[in-house]
């Protein structure tokens, strides 16, 4: 635990044991309680509510009795031996302890600061202060004629007919079904995700594309020419359908494209990142910038803004693919890189106060976590956070 928080917790402990506090300590504690109430870092209400429900359940002896009667009638019929796997290795021990401290401190604070009015706690489930929900599935489809559709609100069915192809939405997935009559001219659609949204679509050739937040892909509604050409920005993961006769090409900008046969790979090409990173999982791709390189599975091509091409032969695939697997992976990541990810996923703007050190973070978190829980996990002795509207303020 870090010094500052350690100090607060020591004060809290004294307070709980009714040891008199010095003026300085009292002031520190008041400030901390106030900040935490504002930030809702301790989520007043949520843990206590949970605890009360738990206690209620544990005291429900009728329920236990009923279950035992059922058990009694079953337990004498023999069952097969169950193979029990060894418990999983504790990978996130630090998060677990940090979270435990936060929960206990929260419950302790609740005991200190009163909760005199227990109706408040018992009856209100929604009493969480300012928090920001994580992103979810959704995208904007721009058709050839420029009209736009928001895809998180549509049901299943044909949503548009585009020059010889029908655009079909099924279980949140967009796909293109050729109707047979191929039109002479090629029309393009663009699928784009704003911040706070991700989306998956199937291209007219059957290739699958996962779009991360704040990303876009432009593609023809039918692939007619010698190659299958799409354009993208932001971050996308591709599973390209095999078609040796028609190579697949991803154009990132005028000077950079990825040439593909049939393969799985991830492209991270956010404009506010220092470099475009193409990571190959399976198959083979050729990354073409000023020079070009053929990637082997497990390798990553890094193209800087000055079009310098480099290869990382051992990138962390877990880290690259974390977004598609529903995770944040902050392993060894610097503060500002972490914040860029949060900006895109929570649709927030991050503001840095002077003197914030560029520290490194470790560990993984589910992307299905609200912003408050994420910053609770990231909080550090040298870096603190405050939420104001859709702004996340980073303080030293």
């Amino acid at each position: 635990m870090h010094d500052n928080q350690q100090y607060i917790l020591t004060i809290l402990q004294k307070k709980l044991q009714k040891i008199p506090l010095t003026e300085e300590e009292q002031a520190q504690l008041n400030e901390w309680l106030q900040v935490n109430e504002e930030d809702a870092l301790l989520q007043p209400g949520a843990d206590e509510q949970e605890l009360l429900e738990y206690l209620q359940l544990r005291m429900d002896s009728d329920r236990n009795r009923e279950a035992f009667e059922k058990f009694r009638s079953q337990a004498f019929t023999n069952r097969d031996v169950v193979h029990v796997k060894a418990p999983a290795r504790m990978r996130f021990a630090w998060i677990r302890y940090a979270a435990a401290i936060i929960i206990i401190a929260g419950i302790a604070t609740w005991f200190i600061t009163g909760n005199r009015n227990n109706d408040r706690v018992v009856n209100n489930k929604g009493h969480r202060k300012v928090d920001i929900a994580p992103g979810h599935d959704g995208a904007i489809l721009t058709l050839a004629n420029g009209s736009q559709m928001v895809l998180d609100s549509l049901g299943n069915g044909v949503i548009a007919s585009q020059n010889g192809a029908q655009v079909v939405l099924k279980n949140g997935l967009v796909q293109y079904d050729a109707t047979g009559k191929i039109a002479a001219e090629i029309t393009y659609n663009t699928m784009s995700t704003p911040r706070g949204r991700q989306f998956q679509l199937v291209l007219p050739d059957g290739s699958k594309v996962w779009l991360n937040a704040a990303s876009a892909i432009k593609y023809p509604t039918t692939f007619t020419g010698k190659e299958r050409l799409v354009e993208m920005n932001g971050e996308a993961y591709f599973e390209v359908a095999k078609d040796a006769a028609k190579p697949f090409r991803v154009k990132i900008n005028e000077g950079l494209s990825v040439q593909v046969l049939g393969t799985n790979f991830n492209v991270n090409a956010y404009e506010n990142e220092a470099a475009v990173k193409t990571t190959l999982l399976e198959g083979s791709v050729q990354v073409v910038a000023k020079s070009s390189v053929l990637l082997k599975p497990g390798e990553q091509a890094i193209v800087t803004q000055a079009s310098q091409l480099a290869i990382d032969d051992k990138p962390s695939i877990d880290k690259v693919m974390a977004w598609k697997n529903g995770l944040f992976n902050f392993e060894g990541m610097r503060l500002k890189e972490v914040m860029k990810q949060l900006e895109r996923w929570y649709d927030i703007d991050v503001v840095y106060e002077p003197g914030v050190p560029d520290i490194e973070f470790y560990g993984e978190l589910s992307r299905n976590t609200t912003l408050i829980d994420v910053i609770a996990a990231l909080k550090d002795s040298d870096v603190h956070f405050r939420i104001e509207g859709r702004k996340l303020i980073v303080l030293p």
């Binding site: 809290l12 279950a67 401290i101 279980n171």
Partner: protein, 193 residues
């Protein structure tokens, strides 16, 4: 943290179970069923499935210890691990049923996170529950009436046939004790950090 005392109790309980002592199994059931049910409910978000999973884990535990000579090192983690495995299978099947095969790869890690999180919460809550039960005299009952049943001081006084001041005093003493306990828990977790 298991003490030597609780280790010995656990060994003794396992020995009685191995000998087919049904009374011992009833004790084990009472100690674990609701905890396992809570954990399964959190992981599956499905109450009736959680009931089945908790039952099944305890039935298997009984059969394994009594008939198959299984002697888990740690009964608690053995049972929670069984429940964890069953919840994982259940969640996977639900995703398949919903036609969300693509989410299967996501399930693994996100699920492990949730397991970690819920194990930790259940552990803390269980400690607090045990402390709650150790409150002397009427204190536990009064705390239950206040916090769980949401009764007011006067209602409690009337029901227990004691003075409202008595209720307030007992509540204050109970809160004191729980605060001390929480302070010790904080110390425990800080020490580990």
């Amino acid at each position: 943290m298991p003490t030597d005392q609780s280790r010995n109790n656990e060994k003794e309980l396992l020995a009685r179970l191995a000998a087919g002592d049904e009374k011992a199994m009833e004790e084990a059931f009472d100690a674990f069923y609701l905890r396992l049910y809570y954990f399964a409910k959190k992981l599956t978000r499905n109450e009736s499935e959680a009931e089945d999973i908790a039952q099944e884990a305890l039935v298997n535990f009984w059969v394994n210890v009594k008939d198959k000579g299984v002697q888990p090192d740690n009964t608690e983690s053995y049972l929670f691990q069984m429940v964890r495995n069953r919840c994982y299978t259940f969640n996977m099947r639900e995703l398949m049923k919903a036609g969300k095969q693509d989410d299967l790869s996501r399930l693994g890690k996100a699920f492990e996170h949730e397991v970690e999180n819920q194990l930790m919460r259940e552990d803390i809550f269980n400690r607090i529950f045990r402390e709650f039960n150790r409150l002397p005299g009427q204190q536990a009952l009064i705390m239950k009436m206040i916090y769980i049943d949401g009764l007011h001081t006067n209602e409690i006084a009337a029901q227990l046939n004691i003075s409202p001041n008595n209720v307030r005093n007992q509540k204050a003493r109970a809160l004191d004790r729980l605060r001390t306990f929480l302070a010790d828990s904080l110390k425990f977790f800080l020490f580990f950090y």
